[in-house]
Amino acid sequence: MTASPDIERIRTFVAVRRAARPARRAAFSLALPLVAFLLIAFVAPILYLLVTAVDNPETKTVLPQTLTALESWDGASTPEEAVFAALAADLKIAQENSTAALVGKRLNYEISGMRSKVLAASRMVAGMDAGPYREAFLDQSDLWAAPETWAVIQRNGASLTPYYLLTAVDLKQSPTGGLERVQPDQAIFLTILGRTLLVAGMVTAFTLILGYPVAYVLTIAPKTIAAVMMLMVLLPLWTSLLVRTTAWVVLLQSDGVINSILMTLHLTAEKVQLIFTRVGTVTAMTHIQLPFTILPIYSVMRSIQPTQLRAARSLGAGPTSAFWRIYAPQTLPGVVAGCLMTFILSLGYYITPALVGGPQDQMVSNFISTYINRDLNWGLAAALGVVLLIVTLAIYGLFLRLVGADKIKLG
């Protein structure tokens, strides 16, 4: 009996794949050093950031006895002396190791005022040789009587927490474990994310409006003029982002160049506030991103045959109709590539909003930096990073589907 043709085909396929294996391996081994390097120097730090966003070591390491004692707590009333004694024992050790501030700061994220209470309590128990501790704690603060306080302590015994990620999208865990919105006065992070998307969208739209005609003129200009224009598009791309931002800081200052031009032309009687405003930020970002939008559009426009427009015209289409029905649709791949690239890059802006923008123009990146450097709240910084990363990667995924990584060109 002979094997069916299907099985024969599969066998051939497998044999071919097997024969090609050494070549595939050789090809991959060339890329292996870079892949391995990027996994260590680039992917691992990002994964570490993801872990930091859910990492919750403070309560677990500083209050182990309290957590054990809380296992038999009913969850509804003020705990018994045993729990307070365990807390006192934990805090005595914490006072010696100076770790009380650590857990106080962590609990303070969820119950305001907790930091000072924990610090005061650990100082108090350090001066006590024996119990009863319950009375002493209850005298010190009403917070120790509230079951919610103990519920939060108990919940944070887990080594992972959703707290930071929820906060980054303006949500919190209710005492019963469900999800609820945070108080309106604390709900700032969705606003910041929305602002980041809005600024990126505005910058993308402006680069398209300004860049599309430039790309078009690049295709119709005589060769030498086009070459000079191309240099003018590429040179800003080459100039350091910081230098371009510096230029805008100088231009937009109250005593800066733009204001002095406006005053000389008598367009305004008083100085216009340009720096530290949304207008200034979007202008500077548009300037910086413009080449990224122009180049892909230009490279697509260059491949469109001018004879097609002529054909449309000879068949009776007017200039407007020929442009919108024949030319514009064909430039769409370039428009998509350029706009997605600019949008992705605009989402991650840090330097320009920091130097040109005001408090109302700070983007997600700026808040990440603030939480790391000023507030030392690494968990929240990491969680905001996760949100920004997810949004960015989603759009990068769209870019890969619609355009492809191999289509990215540098000039």
Partner: protein, 269 residues
């Protein structure tokens, strides 16, 4: 000008408007870059044009200040090391990717390009937290490590682009004539793809030399780079010495850009 003969008057008008608009946009692109040059040569410590009196005092300030000089040297060292590592790793990877049998090309390519895409603050904060575990923060090694990751996509892109026009039969011919793999690479392949490799190296150098955010997180006073020094300066109180530094960076960019343009023009010939 630049119009078919059958164009209507309104079409001609429209065309003129588009060209004028494009010229204005070009002006918007270029003018802000060069505004810093005259300001850096101004004698006055404020930023208005026209400049009343020219002087080199801010350059004297820049070159006379050990902090600025140290920052320049630090940037130079980090950029050179980054260039060496990124060019080597990126060229090797591009050689593999360009082979027809490369497995999972789309996926690997997406990974290799991703350092260009991921927001720089995420890279900076991630490196700051992760490298901190190994004592690599506030060291030059940590900075070069992170910068190399950021610079490799540029090398991969430029070298892959050059390899797409390279005839692999040349390598085969070298091998059949008795050259070993390594010798065929250095004597046949490399000279042919050199423009792409050098473009990638220039991009890598510029990436590291201009980078602010990662350097801000990963360096202490001793490794402080030129862009970090500038950034802190602007945040504090912008002064004309920063204009002088920015003008120097601009000059360096133009130099690198000119080198690249000459290189690619040769390749096109």
């Amino acid at each position: 000008m630049w119009l078919p003969s059958y164009a209507t008057p309104s079409e001609r008008m429209m065309r003129i408007l588009v060209v004028v608009f494009a010229i204005l946009v070009m002006l918007f692109l270029i003018a802000p870059l060069f505004i810093i040059v005259p300001l850096s040569f101004s004698k006055d410590p404020f930023f208005t044009l026209p400049v009343r009196e020219y002087s080199l005092r801010w350059y004297a300030d820049l070159f006379g200040n050990p902090r600025w000089m140290e920052a320049m040297v630090n940037s130079g060292i980090a950029a050179v090391l980054t260039t060496i590592f990124a060019t080597t790793l990126g060229t090797l990877a591009a050689l593999g990717i360009a082979r027809p049998d490369f497995p999972a090309r789309r996926f690997v390519m997406a990974l290799l390009i991703s350092p260009m895409i991921v927001p720089i603050v995420i890279v900076a904060v991630g490196s700051y937290l992760f490298f901190g575990q190994f004592g690599l923060t506030n060291t030059r090694a940590g900075l070069v490590f992170a910068h190399t990751a950021l610079a490799t996509p540029f090398v991969v892109i430029t070298v892959t682009a050059t390899l797409s026009t390279y005839d692999t039969n040349l390598t085969r011919a070298a091998n059949s004539l008795g050259a070993s793999g390594l010798s065929a690479f250095f004597r046949v392949t490399l000279p042919n793809i050199l423009p792409g490799v050098i473009s990638g190296a220039i991009f890598a150098f510029a990436t590291s030399f201009d980078e602010v955010v990662v350097a801000l997180f990963l360096t202490a006073a001793e490794q402080r780079t030129l862009p970090v020094q500038m950034f802190s300066g602007i945040r504090d109180q912008i002064n004309p010495t920063i204009m002088a530094a920015a003008t120097m960076l601009l000059a360096l960019s133009i130099l690198l850009f000119a080198a690249l343009t000459i290189l690619t023009r040769k390749k096109a010939r």
